[in-house]
Assembly symmetry: C2
Homo-oligomer: 428 residues x 2
Amino acid sequence: MLKRIDKNNKEQLQSYLQSRSQEIESDILIKVSEIINEVRMKKDEALKKYTYQFDKIKVDTFKVTEEEIDEAIKQCDPAFMDAMKQAKENITFFHKAQKQNDYILHKEYGIYLGQCIRPIESVGIYVPGGRAQYPSSVLMNVIPAKVAGVQRIVMVTPPDPSGQIHPNIAYAAKLAGVHEIYKVGGAQAIAALAYGTNEIPSVDKIVGPGNIYVAAAKKLVFGKVDIDMIAGPSEILVIADKNADPKYVAADLLSQAEHDPMASSILLSNDENLISKVNCELENQIVGLPKMDITQKSLENYGKSILCESIEECIEIANMIAPEHLELMVNEPMNYLSQIKNAGSIFLGYYTCESIGDYFGGTNHVLPTNGTARFSSALGVDSFIKKSSFLHYSKQAVQAYGHQIETMAVQEGLQAHANAIKVRMDKS
Amino acid sequence: MLKRIDKNNKEQLQSYLQSRSQEIESDILIKVSEIINEVRMKKDEALKKYTYQFDKIKVDTFKVTEEEIDEAIKQCDPAFMDAMKQAKENITFFHKAQKQNDYILHKEYGIYLGQCIRPIESVGIYVPGGRAQYPSSVLMNVIPAKVAGVQRIVMVTPPDPSGQIHPNIAYAAKLAGVHEIYKVGGAQAIAALAYGTNEIPSVDKIVGPGNIYVAAAKKLVFGKVDIDMIAGPSEILVIADKNADPKYVAADLLSQAEHDPMASSILLSNDENLISKVNCELENQIVGLPKMDITQKSLENYGKSILCESIEECIEIANMIAPEHLELMVNEPMNYLSQIKNAGSIFLGYYTCESIGDYFGGTNHVLPTNGTARFSSALGVDSFIKKSSFLHYSKQAVQAYGHQIETMAVQEGLQAHANAIKVRMDKS
């Protein structure tokens, strides 16, 4: 069922995968930039208009009250809430280790220099509405911001036809510690977060997934505020040796494929026999899946297998593909970790399926897609901080090194730069 | 000479400053995207064509040889070379402290998880040509990449009319440890770095300043490769108390103003008298500056002063402006460091003029402009690494927590995600 690709064809595979990324069409960009401009000008009035237009709901105020949240949460499954609490604890545990410290270095003549880490002051999280609801995404976006020390975390999400937000989303927001929730979605919500309205004060950074209009709006407000990456279709790459259970491998490939017809599931192995068995298992396990149609399309178009000489060769190809998710279903997986150069998140061993990390293990599920793991990383505490460097030179230090600084400034033709040092040396 | 702004008008000041940022016009984007497409298709042939068109030079090969570099360096001023060596040492010293370590955390049932730091594999540095040459920028862009462990650092820079690169740039590249230099500039050079040509292999990230065509090209190739920020006009904000020497303050404001008619120099003080004296000093010191015209224009349009009640109030306003460079010319400046929330780089005390940091002190001079210090940071080692998370669950861990993971997957309507856990629990 997985189409075979020759291992020497790996560059073609890579460009094929990257071809899944869709440019935002210019008519969408134009439409979205109109929405943004109207929200900038008319503020809440524009928000209400677009909420009526797109969500078919008349709203007076966007803010979700404490009472609404508590009322919604009453509908949540207690087993789900328990699982979420444990997930929160695990995600917090992992992300706390990402915190960086300030540093200071001292040198001769009382010179000192260093770096301060400061949280971004305010952050907006976009949470999609509609039938699909992903409370796990709320945890994954909010918890790193909390650990970083962000003082104001604002969530926006479109209301359902009855003007409510989904109980599971309300619970996730409360559990994660969101400070304010507003019932507004789409490009208009992104515009509100970037520029502020009467009711919704602006933020410094916007994160979270959304549809093509939300993605276009994020692209357009970038610069005024920061944004996270704009995620492309998801992918998994499984490296499996002969001891891997084909049943497990197939289940993991299917879990990726059910996301999206553009999702891609790739199996690399040094064992021909395993690949055949996985193909059989795929046929068996796909039957009866609620998202069988999507899953089938995804596997047909983007399900691939590659036979390699060795696990080392599998890893070489994986480094070239730079997958979002990489499962190492091999014996003693830790032995291979140092060889992996490009991967968003790595799942080690026969029992660590991707869904453990999607929900519960503690690592973040907001990951670089489409080969961008070559140069970017998962969402994390670093996504919610910024650094300021500082430097101190004493009178003596200026006397000792002033002439060198002057020389460099003069060579670059910047006399006023040189003068700033010279005035201080004259008086020294 | 600095126009006075009322301290309560600070939001106006902020939006005024941000208005300096220029959108890239669409005709430039269209022209540049044509250049990029031609380089993608015709590779070196297109590079040669554009180099002839824009730089008026016919080139056979772009690579600068070791001999060319050594020949060029013979023309460098030995005092300049000494200063550069010391600067390199200082910059390396500061950036080494930015290196993050891998971490691993262990939990019950043999669960472990963590994060690996890996250098980006290959990086391209753009170095502008023309009359202005900034060897300090070569150090500031290359050294953090070296410290991060980048294996291949490629420099591109346009040739001068005789087909040479500037001796100071050649020296800076050799000193910093650039691996390859190509004589090619403009949008075509960015296209070559992003997509590769016969002679120039592609890289994973492109950094370095350039003109509007280079900026447009970087914007367009972003996603295929990573880029650094696209810098706007530069700014300095000086906070000075009554003990600050007006001569020093004026010199520092002028050093910013000489960069660009759009550069902005702002003085905040709690002392009316100091502001007056600085204005006098500006009149005196500006006379005879080689870039007096630019400096004058910059001060007229963007030179501002604000009188505050206290240093604390000055800092509040500075946090709102989020300046690229912040000088704290006050007594005991370290006492105020914790109050500074938004600033690219901070210069502490009466003797630490910005030009020490521009060239020599060790902190990076590639900084967030235009208020983006609210959410972004100086170029540094973090700009040249990416992180991969890893997770391991044992059979026992899956047995213990599998039902919780399954519950979350089912609540989100992702049955194949749930199945990936279930198949492992069945067999456990």
